[in-house]
């Protein structure tokens, strides 16, 4: 359920430029965006439109050049590197296009990583990882290595990993682009079912039109600008 009164992300006039001189690329040109808690916001647009740059800035893994960006009232600009890292570790979950599961760790160990980064003991972290893996339907694959899992299963492990430490914001970069249509659909159903919650915001970057139906709102980007924001839920 979207909570219109609580802003998870508020970006105003965001700018980001890569390179300099003649090779300069304006990835973000004054982007304004608001994401509410409980909302699944999709950023869509052609390649090079600035979607990934925008979620990188929002997630605090990339510094912006100008503008404002607050995540649950916190601005990464006012944090030092250590504070940023700590904030990300506690409050932000990531789901990547290529899953980014560490190949030599089992599914449960991969899921346990964010908890261990936050200081939880390995045994406790892997126990909790097994619990959440059963929630995403992988209770029988907790000891499997990523190479032993299908693409859909790997993405489910990645979703479990992004959720385990209870982050307030989850950013997903093309979560279905490496999956076939049916598997992608299932992954998105799972995301909506287990990951989207009243106290959590979701931002999904995609250009896969087949999963647009799972969004609460869709922000279209082009050439570093948000060109339109479309509501897919009547209550928004």
């Amino acid at each position: 359920m979207v909570n219109k009164d609580t802003l998870a992300v508020r970006c105003t006039g965001l700018t980001k430029t890569y390179g300099s001189g003649s090779s300069q690329v304006h990835a973000l040109c004054g982007v304004n965006l608001e994401v509410h808690t409980g909302e699944l916001m999709m950023l869509v647009g052609p390649s090079g439109s600035g979607k990934t740059t925008l979620i990188s800035v929002i997630a605090g893994v990339l510094d912006r050049d100008g503008g404002e960006c607050q995540v649950f009232g916190h601005d990464f600009k006012h944090m030092n590197s250590r504070e940023k890292t700590q904030y990300r570790g506690k409050n932000i979950g990531f789901v990547f296009q290529m899953f980014n599961l560490i190949p030599s760790l089992t599914a449960a160990e991969n899921v346990a990583v964010p908890l261990m980064i936050n200081g939880v003991k390995r045994r406790e972290a892997t126990d909790r990882a097994r619990d959440i893996l059963s929630r995403v339907g992988l209770s029988d694959r907790t000891f499997s290595l990523p190479a032993e899992l299908s693409g859909g299963q790997q993405q489910r492990v990645a979703i479990a990993r992004a959720m385990l430490h209870g982050p307030k914001l989850i950013v997903c970069d093309e979560p279905t682009s490496a999956l076939d249509h049916e598997t992608g659909h299932k992954v998105m159903e799972l995301l909506r079912e287990v990951a989207v919650g009243a106290d959590r915001a979701f931002i999904v970057v995609t250009h896969d039109a087949r999963i647009f139906e799972f969004a609460d709102r869709i922000a279209k980007m082009d050439d570093g600008h948000i060109t339109s924001v479309e509501n897919l839920r009547t209550d928004l």
Partner: protein
């Protein structure tokens, strides 16, 4: 995260084995070549180690090392004896003489002539016979390695019959009878060692005006050895060194005037470079292979300190394994070649030296990786 760091390390089998092989090879080269070098250097003063009783060695001031023999007049021992603080002073002959073996072949031998009365300066360990047997007619004592090796009789079928008590040889046309077999430290030249009395050695040796090589001196109890050396120098005009000083003088000569340190040093440096090149590059490649995962960990909130600790743990693990294997193989080679001419000495200081070298290789290797990870932008995780 340490457990995961180790799992990441061993998960990439090819790189893991490659790094360990590189470090093992480096550790082996550094340890083994240094051990051979140390063994050779130890052999240079092997005779000094064997002759443990005297406190001071007196010799011609021009002598540069133990085998640099510049004979003295025999009366010099009397002059030394008269110096205050000297308990006793005895002559010692040392020279390289040709022995004619029963089968007619010649063999150069290190002949040591001991004071006739006291037999001071004799071999440290008698295996057969007694030192006092030297008082017999034409008596000599030979070392076991020489007896089994260069002095042994070779049969037509190639078998070697070791020289034994009762066998004879000719030393400069003088008959010599083996009355004992002793054990001594290997010498640098690896010649058989023959002990006899001083007077008999001067008979064996070609006629020269001066035949005494050294005067061996024992200080009276509670004497300051260095002060006594000074007094002997002042009183006789000869050089007087403590055993350790003479060892240092000998080593210094070999270090300065032979190519041994450069040859072995080059190999040791090569071992180090090979270690850095193979292990360092493989470890760096291993980090590059995992850079996406390090980036993922960084994005998920792992601090630089955590990531550096993971890399250091990985480097320390492969370093410890590579070092252990290298030193183990070097020690095994040392044991296997213990009974051969190959010199090999592996004291704990050398193990420490190798450990430091391997640590340095790991430090250089991991420094490159750490630099890469510290500079890593976590935004890399969103690049496909």
């Amino acid at each position: 995260m340490n457990f995961f760091a180790l799992k990441m390390l061993v998960g990439n089998r090819a790189k893991y084995v490659g790094i360990i092989v590189g470090l093992t090879f480096a550790s082996l080269l550094i340890t083994q070549q240094s051990a051979i070098f140390l063994g050779l250097m130890t052999r240079t003063f092997g005779f000094l180690t064997d002759t443990a009783l005297p406190d001071i060695w007196v010799m011609d001031p021009k002598v540069q090392y133990i085998d640099d023999l510049k004979p003295l007049k025999e009366t010099e021992s009397l002059r030394v004896r008269s110096v205050q603080g000297v308990a006793w002073a005895v002559p010692l002959y040392k020279g390289l003489l040709k022995a004619r073996l029963p089968n007619g072949t010649f063999q150069s031998c290190n002949v040591v002539g001991l004071d006739d009365e006291t037999l001071i300066g004799g071999p440290p360990k008698m295996l057969q016979g007694q030192l006092a047997d030297l008082r017999g007619s034409d008596a000599i004592i030979i070392d076991i390695v020489g007896a089994k090796g260069k002095l042994a009789r070779v049969l037509p079928d190639g078998r070697r019959i070791p020289m034994k008590i009762g066998d004879t040889m000719e030393l400069n046309d003088h008959r010599a009878v083996v009355v004992g077999i002793c054990q001594v430290q290997r010498t640098f030249q690896s010649q058989p060692v023959i002990y006899t009395t001083f007077s008999r050695a001067t008979v064996f040796a070609p006629r020269e005006r001066k035949l005494m090589s050294f005067v061996l001196v024992k200080a009276k109890p509670d004497q300051d050895i260095h002060a006594l050396c000074q007094r002997i120098r002042r009183a006789t005009g000869l050089a007087a060194y403590t055993r350790d000083e003479f060892k240092t003088l000998t080593i210094r000569y070999y270090m300065k005037y032979t190519g041994i340190p450069i040859n072995f040093g080059t190999t040791v440096v090569l071992g180090f470079i090979v270690g850095v090149a193979i292990a360092g590059q493989t470890f760096y490649n291993f980090t590059l292979d995992n850079i996406r995962y390090f980036g993922t960990l960084k994005a998920m909130g792992a601090s630089d300190f955590t990531l550096l600790r993971m890399i250091l743990l990985q480097a320390a693990t492969v370093g410890a394994i590579g070092y252990g294997l290298g030193v183990g193989v070097a020690s095994a080679l040392g044991l296997l070649t213990g009974s051969t001419e190959l010199s090999f000495r592996l004291p704990w200081q050398l193990l420490l030296f190798s450990a430091i070298a391997v640590m340095l290789i790991c430090a250089i290797s991991s420094a490159l990786s750490m630099w890469k990870v510290i500079r890593l932008e976590p935004a890399i995780v969103f690049k496909s």
